[in-house]
């Protein structure tokens, strides 16, 4: 499935944006502007952007912490994302959830995730189930890592989605490491897509650093799901290019593995592919890079100036029908 020029433009912009935003956020983290941890998506840009661009505006996505590109593609503004990272009231969680979590906004079709991965999987399956029951031609897409794919819930959800033939696409981000645990310690089956056979659904493997491969596979899976063809599991092979969180120096990763994947950088690769296709406008690229810097400056300045939530609102929103709770 060949992406339209508009899709290519958006892909290029958001992959570059996600990369530059990540770099700046690491600086901001080191300056103490971002509390807690920071989880880099370096190297995952083609997956988060490529897969999410395959969705229509009415579809629902349930991404994870290395998918910031997907949040942008879905329409969560960099200002709101930055405000979330800074713990400000203007973020999607109003400072409630940790910086990479709680980026949910159902009005733009995004489900926020919890740390307990892969808890988003059954929720996304339920969303797909609702689409099927309501006869709505919509699709759910969710993400799971190679580590969380070891959890029973990943198996249970794939089984469920297969049984009910739900309109859902599972993206497995096989980035070789779950915190410090290498893939070989997660599973004897290094190709996680093979598991799809056990659920009676299609499973395929794509190069997660190749935007075109991810986008094409995701688009075909979305199309199949929308047409009533049920779920697909897409394993995107990639590499986590920074530590689990930014405090983690990845001393446990062989340097040659990093070098190998550096040579396969998804953004450099995309631009080479675009050049080869005669579709890269070098002048426009410079302009785009400038625009991205401007937009990131704007988002971070916005977040910096945005107010923190009022401590008086601490108890608000525990329940959907009341402001507070507790009597002690």
């Amino acid at each position: 499935m060949d992406p339209t020029p508009e899709v290519l433009r958006r892909a290029h912009y958001w992959m570059r944006f996600a990369r530059a935003f990540d770099d700046r956020c690491i600086t901001m983290y080191k300056q103490g502007k971002i509390a807690g941890g920071y989880f880099s998506q370096l190297g995952h840009e083609a997956i988060s952007v490529g897969a999410s661009l395959a969705l229509g505006s009415a579809d629902i996505i349930a991404p994870m912490h290395r998918d910031v590109g997907a949040y942008f593609v879905r329409g969560l503004t960099p200002r709101r994302v930055a405000a979330q990272y800074y713990g400000r009231a203007a973020g999607p969680s109003g400072g409630r959830d940790a910086n990479m979590h709680g980026l949910g906004d159902l009005s733009i079709g995004i489900v926020g995730f919890v740390s307990h991965l892969p808890q988003s999987l059954p929720v996304a399956a339920g969303i797909a189930h609702a689409f099927k029951l309501k006869r709505e031609p919509r699709v759910a897409m969710t993400f799971v890592g190679d580590g969380s794919a070891s959890e029973g819930l990943a198996h249970e959800t794939l089984n469920w989605a297969g049984v009910f033939q739900l309109p859902i696409v599972f993206i497995v981000e096989n980035n070789q490491y779950a915190y410090s645990t290498p893939l070989a310690r997660q599973t004897r089956v290094p190709d996680l897509a093979r598991r799809a056979d056990g659920y009676g659904i299609p499973g395929l493997i794509v190069d997660g650093n190749d935007f075109f491969a991810v986008f094409t596979a995701a688009s075909e899976a979305v199309e199949r799901a929308r047409a009533g063809g049920g779920p697909t599991l897409i394993e995107c092979k990639t590499m986590r290019m920074r530590g689990h969180a930014i405090h983690d120096n990845m001393a446990y990763v062989p340097p040659e593995l990093i070098a190998e994947w550096q040579a396969r950088d998804p953004i450099i690769r995309f631009e080479e592919q675009m050049r080869a296709r005669g579709q890269l406008d070098e002048g426009a690229l410079e302009e785009m890079i400038g625009q991205i810097e401007t937009d990131i400056d704007d988002a971070l300045a916005f977040a910096d100036q945005a107010p923190y939530p009022d401590p008086a609102t601490l108890r608000f929103g525990v329940y959907a029908d009341s402001a507070g709770g507790g009597v002690a």
Partner: protein
């Protein structure tokens, strides 16, 4: 009808209001499901064996025939996925009621409840209107994994509502309210009562019981028995025994464990001066401790005796009748504990 069939049926005429019908506890729960499913096409029942088979307790019997396989959904065995999927369905505007075959099995879906469902609204503002029905409690010789009372696990978690229905009328009235509530509700119902307890159940909208409201089920002046669930019947029976001994005992049914009707508890204890808290769940970390702390902090000056808890011991629920009977509080044990406190 097969699993794959089941076109949504149109909303049928609701029961006439103002009528109370005699029914068992189990029938009352079923009636609530049927009533809400007829009233609101978004409501669906989902669980293991709830469809063609009619549920492990035959509680959902008849619903599949009336509403079809798309609103009475048989699922693979996965409590975690059941609950997670219900959350997703709720996000998309449906109103799923999940059946745990036994409350004991809820542990396999615990993470999905306490991490996702409970926190979601607080974290990013999307409500999670689901109900998880948990057939709970002992008395049926079910052994350690079919007799538990795990309500305290959930009462500790912000964002959940926890309901414990003690009578047929409340089972119906509270369940309808739970289904209409915009929050995740863990609905404990008592399988010992399913077929052993009958009572009048108000019809239509008349029977709605709001969440968060306790009920004085017997008025009294000498002592408050504060309890819930299957122990309400036992406490009432004990209060009859005590009445024959000229003791005038009040029985307060909490009905909702979270949010707790703190005012009702305090008002009752302030009147009677004595509090006996009874629950079927084991003692340590149970709801009773919470109620005791509440009374101690806010009604201390009204007390005329030590706040007393009667609960199951801190053991798993045993199987054999002599052991289960020794484990489980009952009317005799309640009367005995009440007597000791009354004479204090």
């Amino acid at each position: 009808m097969t699993w794959d069939q089941g076109i949504h049926k149109s909303v049928t005429t609701l029961h006439a209001t103002g009528v109370a019908r005699e029914m068992t506890y189990l029938e009352a729960v079923r009636d609530a499901l049927q009533y809400e499913m007829r009233r609101d096409p978004r409501v669906l029942v989902i669980g293991e064996d709830v469809g063609i088979y009619g549920g492990a307790f035959k509680l959902t019997q008849g619903l599949f025939e009336e509403f079809g396989g798309e609103r009475v959904i048989d699922t693979p065995m996965s409590e975690a996925c059941l609950i997670g999927a219900a959350v997703g369905m709720a996000f998309m505007g449906l109103r799923p009621v999940v059946e745990m075959q036994f409350a004991d099995f809820i542990s396999t879906g615990f993470d999905t409840i306490v991490q996702f469902a409970a926190t979601n609204h607080y974290r990013w503002g999307s409500a999670v209107p689901i109900v998880i029905r948990a057939p709970s409690g002992g008395g049926l010789r079910g052994g350690p994994f079919h007799s538990q009372n795990p309500e305290a696990w959930f009462a500790h978690v912000p964002g959940l509502k926890v309901v414990a229905a003690a009578t047929p009328a409340d089972a119906r009235g509270l369940l309808i309210s739970a289904i209409r509530d915009p929050n995740p509700v863990i609905f404990f119902e008592y399988k010992f009562l399913y077929r052993s307890l009958r009572g009048p159940v108000p019809d239509g909208e008349d029977g709605l019981v709001p969440l968060g409201s306790a009920a004085i089920v017997r008025r009294g002046a000498d002592l408050s028995i504060i309890t819930y669930g299957a122990m309400v019947s036992e406490a009432l029976a004990a209060s009859d025994t005590l009445a024959a001994e000229d003791w005038n005992v009040e029985v307060l049914d909490l009905r909702t464990l979270k949010p707790l009707d703190t005012e009702a508890v305090l008002e009752s204890v302030r009147r009677t001066g004595k509090a006996l808290i009874v629950h079927e769940a084991n003692l340590t970390g149970g709801i009773g401790g919470e109620v005791a702390a509440l009374i101690s902090q806010h009604a201390f000056e009204s007390l005329d005796g030590p706040i007393t808890r009667l609960a199951a011991p801190d053991t798993p629920v045993p199987y054999t009748p002599p052991l289960e009977d020794a484990y489980r509080p009952n009317r005799q044990k309640i009367a005995e504990a009440a007597r000791a406190l009354l004479k204090y």
